[in-house]
């Protein structure tokens, strides 16, 4: 018997799955690694800890599920969070920690570039929104603020590139991760000269570009031994979490969109053309040379409801937030749709799509004397979903969305999934058992191995068994309230600016964002 192993290097940890060649899960394990916020706006991870955790979890998975049954590992495929940057010296040793997507240190650079003509040009060429998350801006920040690191840097890697280099000795970056760096021209699939110049580097400072199906070099001998894997074990460079979650839900072809809500969230579509947008609201990332994953990201997903739960939830079981979230969901279900007219703007962490306003802040609106605690619970969840819907609505200006799928730990909570179905007034499909990202990596591997002829064929086989049907009455109520929500989200622009300014002046905002 043979298996396919997928390794997902996520924001909070690594998740390793073993699949059969027909896509059944044999086993999975996860391992957590921390994010350090040593300074306001900084968000870093220790590359060695990520590497050791990955190795440890992979080894445990092999020893627990694979080696005892004498299963042969046909291939190992990687996926990873986008936008990370790690500088390494000429020996490949890290210069400091890896900078993650959530890092905001380049916010000034981002603001300036976004307003400039160069910014518009770079967005159109690279598909990556001009935002501090983008490695383009992080490298530029290192150049002006950490000159020693910039001088010593032989390469600027992504976290995945570093892990693959540790295991195989090769510097490589896949199309998907590369297309999220803000440095790759997504139309020509070459490093974009203007972007390189802005960052102050040459292409030699970046890893080698590789299509997602590329097999890296062999595992180093020591790891062959410690993992008990043969030298011929194929290692696929793979893709990014966003692209693979979309593929994993079978969102290839016309009329399909997928909604991911974990801590943060995104609405994505996939197709042969990019989404063009004068206002630079969407991302366009590459899955393959003729397939783009496009959409809009939000900062405010499950993390906002977790915040609410920590403040107002009932903690009868100490340290058990899942339990408290569950209780609140049950409470919310007893409140009528629309929360009797209480609206919530979920912008506690500022916002990316669709309003792209770092100064946006949260608000409850429409409060009247009959509102109770339980209305706040439901309004909070509805507010998070209105935001998701508003991203979907802007996407729908360019793409017809006929069917929807949902994934991610928050989006797949039944109450949330139903809300999405009602809001969009469309049936929503999902798969409960496992992560769409890893399944996307399995589809990629299976295609590479010839089990499927193409990714199109692979995506068509995806079946999402659970269906949530929209409730027409609820939809009508939500549609009414959404009108006000949408207006508020832009109408308050000046006041967001003012309160954001005051929060900065009085030094509270740094602290808020530190906890992100």
């Amino acid at each position: 018997m043979k298996c396919i192993i997928t390794i997902e290097l996520g924001t909070n940890g690594v998740r390793v799955f073993a699949f059969t060649l027909s896509g059944q899960v044999i086993g999975s394990l996860k391992g957590y690694y921390p994010t350090f916020h040593t300074e306001p706006d900084h968000s870093e991870q220790d590359p060695e800890q990520i590497f050791i955790t990955t190795l440890y979890v992979l080894k445990n998975l092999l020893n627990e599920y694979i080696h005892p049954k004498k299963i042969k590992v046909a291939c190992i495929c990687f996926s990873a969070a986008m936008h990370s940057v790690l500088a390494v010296d000429k020996n490949g040793n890290p210069l400091g920690n890896a900078i993650t997507w959530a890092d905001n240190r380049a916010k000034k650079e981002a603001q300036e570039l976004r307003r400039s003509a160069l910014g518009k040009k770079l967005y159109a060429a690279t598909g990556t929104p001009i935002h501090p998350m983008s490695p383009l801006l992080k490298i530029a920040w290192i150049r002006s603020n950490d000159k020693e690191r910039f001088k010593q840097a032989n390469k600027f890697l992504s976290i995945k590139s570093y892990i693959v280099h540790q295991l195989t000795g090769e510097y490589m970056i896949d199309y998907s991760i590369a297309s999220a760096t803000g440095l790759l021209n997504i139309h020509t699939i070459k490093w974009e000269a203007d972007a390189l110049q802005y960052a102050g580097i040459t292409a030699a400072k970046l890893p080698e570009l590789a299509p997602i199906f590329t097999a890296t070099g062999k595992l180093k001998k020591a790891y062959q031994q410690s993992l008990r894997l043969p030298a011929e074990t194929k290692i696929l460079i793979g893709s990014s979490d966003g692209c693979l979650a979309t593929l994993g839900d079978g969102v290839k072809g016309e009329g399909k969109a997928t909604i991911t809500i974990e801590d943060s969230g995104a609405v994505r579509v996939m197709g042969p053309a990019v989404l063009k947008d004068e206002q630079m609201r969407f991302f366009n990332y590459l899955l393959t040379d003729n397939c783009y994953v496009s959409g809009g990201p939000t900062n405010n997903g499950g993390n906002i409801f977790e915040w609410f739960t920590r403040q107002f939830g009932d903690f009868t079981n100490p340290f058990d937030i899942e339990d408290s979230i569950q209780q609140l969901m049950e409470e919310a279900a007893k409140v009528p749709a629309g929360s009797d007219g209480l609206l919530f703007l979920p912008y506690l962490l500022g916002e990316r799509a669709p309003i792209w306003n770092a100064n946006a802040r949260g608000a409850y609106f429409g409060l009247h004397i009959k509102h109770e605690r339980r209305h706040f619970v439901r309004a909070t969840i509805e507010g998070i979903m209105y935001e998701i819907y508003s991203i979907g609505k802007t996407l729908a200006e360019q793409r017809t969305i006929k069917s929807l799928s949902v994934n991610g730990s928050f989006g797949t909570i039944p109450f949330c999934t139903q809300l999405i179905a009602d809001l969009f007034n469309k049936p929503v499909r999902l798969r409960q058992q496992f992560h769409s990202v890893s399944f996307g990596a399995w589809l990629l591997s299976a295609t590479e191995m010839g089990i499927y002829k193409s990714l199109d064929e692979a995506a068509k086989t995806v079946e999402l068994p659970d269906v949530y049907k929209p409730n027409k009455q609820h939809h009508a109520i939500y549609a009414d309230y959404f009108g006000i929500f949408e207006k508020l989200s832009v109408k308050l622009y000046d006041e967001f600016e003012a309160i954001g300014g005051l929060q900065q002046k009085y030094g509270v905002v740094e602290d808020v964002f530190k906890k992100k």
Partner: protein
């Protein structure tokens, strides 16, 4: 109760309690100068505010105390007030003799009913506690009052009772400290704090009991929560951090493998080598040679 001071070696009340260096109650009716001078002692000092408002410096940091607050001053830490001023109000205190081995972590004598590992965990929490102030903790005042009563009344079995109350005080204080430092609503934050402390004290031979106590949890709940949150048992998570740090050190020339082993908490270079090889396939020296070869 009137004000008093008992000192071991001077007061007969403390004959049976060589570990109680000093116990007292002060009622101060007018501001005094040059009385509350900054001192450093080898004992663990605990002050409980009954009335008034006091501005004291602990380890050169200013703190303000209100009724119900407790100050916990570790052995070897400076404590007193600016210019020795003593404000109006009343407070009680206890100076407890503790053994202080090289690592600076307080340990308690034979008088204590705490087991060795419990005592070590309490010592660790006291040592790592970020703030010497416990706000609004009247339980500490009640225990101090009970100890005073026992010492003056000498009822049957008072010796045992006083020692029990001392243990009770240490337990109550450390539990309050962990509660004050960790919200039971936010495990990720608690876990992050643990991660920080482990990294700062990586050479320490951590036990699960100590780690659990540090975040104010029982070992069973702690192990379960860590496992479900991180995917690893607490000890394996710790090994993870140790190896990650060791890798960084191995990539730098000039520090010996034995030193790296001890710095990162392995009890010998052999132990380090076995653990490292099991995980990475390399012996530490091989790993180092591979990474320094290109230089």
């Amino acid at each position: 109760m009137n004000q008093f001071v008992l000192q071991y070696g001077k007061s007969n009340e403390l004959l049976l309690f060589p570990h109680i260096l000093e116990l007292g109650l002060k009622k101060n009716g007018a501001i005094l100068f040059n009385t509350f001078l900054t001192t450093v002692t080898e004992g663990l000092r605990i002050y409980y505010i009954i009335e008034g408002r006091f501005e004291w410096r602990i380890n050169h940091q200013p703190y303000v105390f209100y009724p119900g607050d407790v100050a916990v001053i570790l052995p070897g830490t400076s404590f007193g007030s600016d210019k020795g001023a003593l404000e109006i109000g009343s407070f009680s205190w206890l100076h407890l003799d503790v053994q202080k081995p090289d690592n600076g972590q307080p340990m308690f004598g034979k008088w204590s009913g705490l087991s060795e590992s419990e005592g070590a965990a309490i010592g660790k929490i006291l040592l790592l506690n970020p703030s010497p102030v416990l706000s609004r903790f009247p339980d500490a005042g009640k225990i101090l009052k009970c100890i005073q009563g026992e010492l003056f009344n000498n009822e049957v079995a008072y010796q045992a009772r006083v020692n029990h109350q001392l243990d009770e005080l240490l337990i109550a204080l450390t539990r309050q400290m962990t509660r004050q430092n960790h919200s039971t609503r936010d495990f990720p934050k608690t876990f992050m704090h643990l991660e920080e402390v482990l990294r700062q004290n990586l050479s320490h031979q951590w036990t699960v009991e100590e780690m659990a106590a540090l975040v104010g949890m029982g070992t069973t709940l702690f192990t379960e929560r860590v496992k479900s949150y991180s995917g690893f048992s607490p000890i394996n998570y710790l090994i993870n951090i140790r190896i990650s740090e060791a890798i960084k050190l191995l990539k730098r020339p000039g520090i010996s493998v034995t030193d790296i082993a001890l710095d990162t908490g392995f009890y010998s270079s052999q132990h380090f080598s076995t653990t490292f090889k099991k995980l990475t396939g390399y012996r530490p020296s091989e790993f180092r040679n591979n990474h320094l070869r290109n230089k």
